[in-house]
Symmetry: C2
Subunit: 351 residues, 2 copies
């Protein structure tokens, strides 16, 4: 058995202490870099650790000290590049703090989320960064508070009584709509998809408000499928019919990519016949042709912010709940163009 052999030749702090002719307590102080130890003693102990091949046993330390240098990250979806960048930001900050992240994927399912949160608790994480699955109840967060488990919500929120790092979607929608209106568009649609949660609601509300503020009809909100290929197939919803639009704001860049492909298949030239504005500004926005105009939401920075909120709360549990709501920034590229005033000249492309 691996565990047996590993246990057999495990060298403990006591071994190190004996080898250095000091007490175990002293050796422990050396490890934790306490200033109470003389340079000489420290050197002796460190030499002993080296010679014996000592490995710090964080599990034992955790049991005694009740901290694990471990934080849990619960994300609803791993394959969306947006979440990946978020994760990268979290990982950077947590890692720099000498801690480690346990990552789990809720699949946007509250029941799975429940299981996973319990699991993290049993694993003794010091805190949790949660992007709540759709339909997460406020009570979930309250329960975590009862558990004394520090929590920060990221990207989505279900309560104000808990730290939150996210995006000001309303501002982003104003930027997107404002840009298109300046270009002369008036019939602007909003292409949405995915589960409904606070970020979804805020984008929809933001779009409506932005349209109303400009005296435009705010209800051309159209749901598209979730899979890339299916989104492409739904492009016709925007380019035909009576209330045809000349521009569409997309829920995120995944939708924008899909619609871009679909409009191409319909023979519609984006950035000339039709305007498209994405949301999030993931790496692909710059790589598309025509390049995608998109509202940058800086997921990596948000991840960093969330991690910092959590680190702060770990040291100062009694801080009032804080919000870090980042203002997005419009990146104007090629997919949005001045309203041509003409109809959509359509030529069927090889779909």
């Amino acid at each position: 058995m691996v565990s047996e052999s590993r246990k057999k030749n495990r060298v403990t702090l006591l071994d190190v202490a004996r080898h250095a002719s000091v007490s175990r307590a002293t050796a422990s102080l050396v490890i934790r870099k306490s200033p109470l130890v003389s340079t000489e003693t420290r050197a002796k102990v460190e030499a002993a650790m080296q010679e014996l091949g000592y490995v710090y046993n964080m599990g034992a330390a955790r049991l005694r000290a009740d901290k694990s240098l471990t934080i849990g990250v619960v994300i609803p979806n791993l394959v969306n590049p947006f979440f990946t960048e978020l994760l990268a930001g979290i990982e950077t900050v947590i890692d720099a703090a000498g801690m480690v992240v346990i990552l789990v994927n809720s699949g946007d399912l509250v029941t799975r989320q429940e299981t996973l949160l319990t699991r993290m608790r049993e694993h003794g994480v010091d805190g949790i960064i949660l992007c709540p699955a759709a339909d997460t109840k406020m009570s979930l967060v309250e329960r975590m508070a009862e558990w004394d488990l520090p929590l920060v919500q990221v990207l989505r929120h279900v309560t104000d009584d808990c730290d939150y790092a996210g995006v000001d979607y309303g501002v982003g929608m104003h930027q997107a709509v404002g840009h298109l209106v300046e270009l002369g568009h008036r019939d602007i649609a909003f292409a949405v998809h995915g589960p409904v949660h606070s970020a979804y609601q805020e984008r929809v509300d933001g779009f409506r408000e932005a349209m109303e503020a400009r005296g435009l009809y705010p209800n051309t909100i159209i749901r598209v499928p979730n899979q890339m290929a299916a989104i492409a197939d739904s492009a016709e919803l925007f380019s035909s019919g009576p209330g045809r639009s000349s521009a569409v704001v997309c829920f995120n860049d995944v939708v924008a990519l899909g619609l871009s492909a679909g409009l191409y298949d319909l023979g519609i030239t984006i950035g000339r016949d039709f305007s498209l504005v994405g949301f999030d500004d993931v790496a692909d926005a710059e790589a598309m042709r025509p390049r995608l105009t998109s509202v940058a939401t800086f997921p990596e920075a948000i991840g960093e912010g969330a991690a910092k909120l959590l680190l702060d709360r770990l040291t100062q549990p009694d801080l009032p709940p804080r919000k870090l709501v980042k203002a997005p920034q419009l990146r104007i590229r090629q997919s949005s163009a001045r309203w041509s005033g003409t109809g959509l000249g359509r030529v069927q492309n090889s779909g």
Copy 2:
């Protein structure tokens, strides 16, 4: 202090045992679902756990039993969608086994990788899935063996004396080159980028062999930058000059996306004037226009395979080293077309 309050009202197994009027050992058996406990006793204990709000302390169990139900995953890069899909596969299998993954990002730096591996060891992970950073020495893996830390290499390998889950890049290159040759291409370039490691080498060797096997010149291997925008700018390397190619095989889909954009900017129509074959077949391949012909490498399946190898090794440490080398599959779409025999008709697009 959070930890104090958490400690204060922590209910332990002993509390549960008392409340259920059994011994601590019996309560422990119930938790671990031992069949040695009568249904009646089990129900009594479970009721007690429920009433008291007992939370299993995995840290304590780990200390005693020397297993942590935790595995470490070391990845060189989080933002490449390829690695994200790999991670998703790993997470699925590990999660289904009731375990949890600790994720770290080496940034493809051996020194950081070293630090992180030590950290995971201190955290007491049961095993590690490692995609070795470029320039990782074989000795690293040997050292892990001395640590008695079960390891599986994924995607890249530095030794045969250790489990490995990856891709048969050679076969993939034969598929890509073969496909282009069938379409009549003879001047085929290979666009590479990124750090050099086993997977890099295997792709390069695979390309060379595939070309040589068909009597073609195998050395048009061109390095492009790593950033998407810079890749696009380098497209001219392939489309001009004396040894001009009519088709290019890409190191991965990131390169393919970049070149696709760059060729567009040069006014070259892919799938007509020029053929492009990607590698990996990430989600974007299907979303591009023209759709990208690509060699699918199934990163999610590889992640699952790697996790299963590790799980097996945990239970059977004495198994000989195993290899899981998955055959890729060519997905023919629109970016590859019959050789036109004409030059590249070029019209400058709005770059």
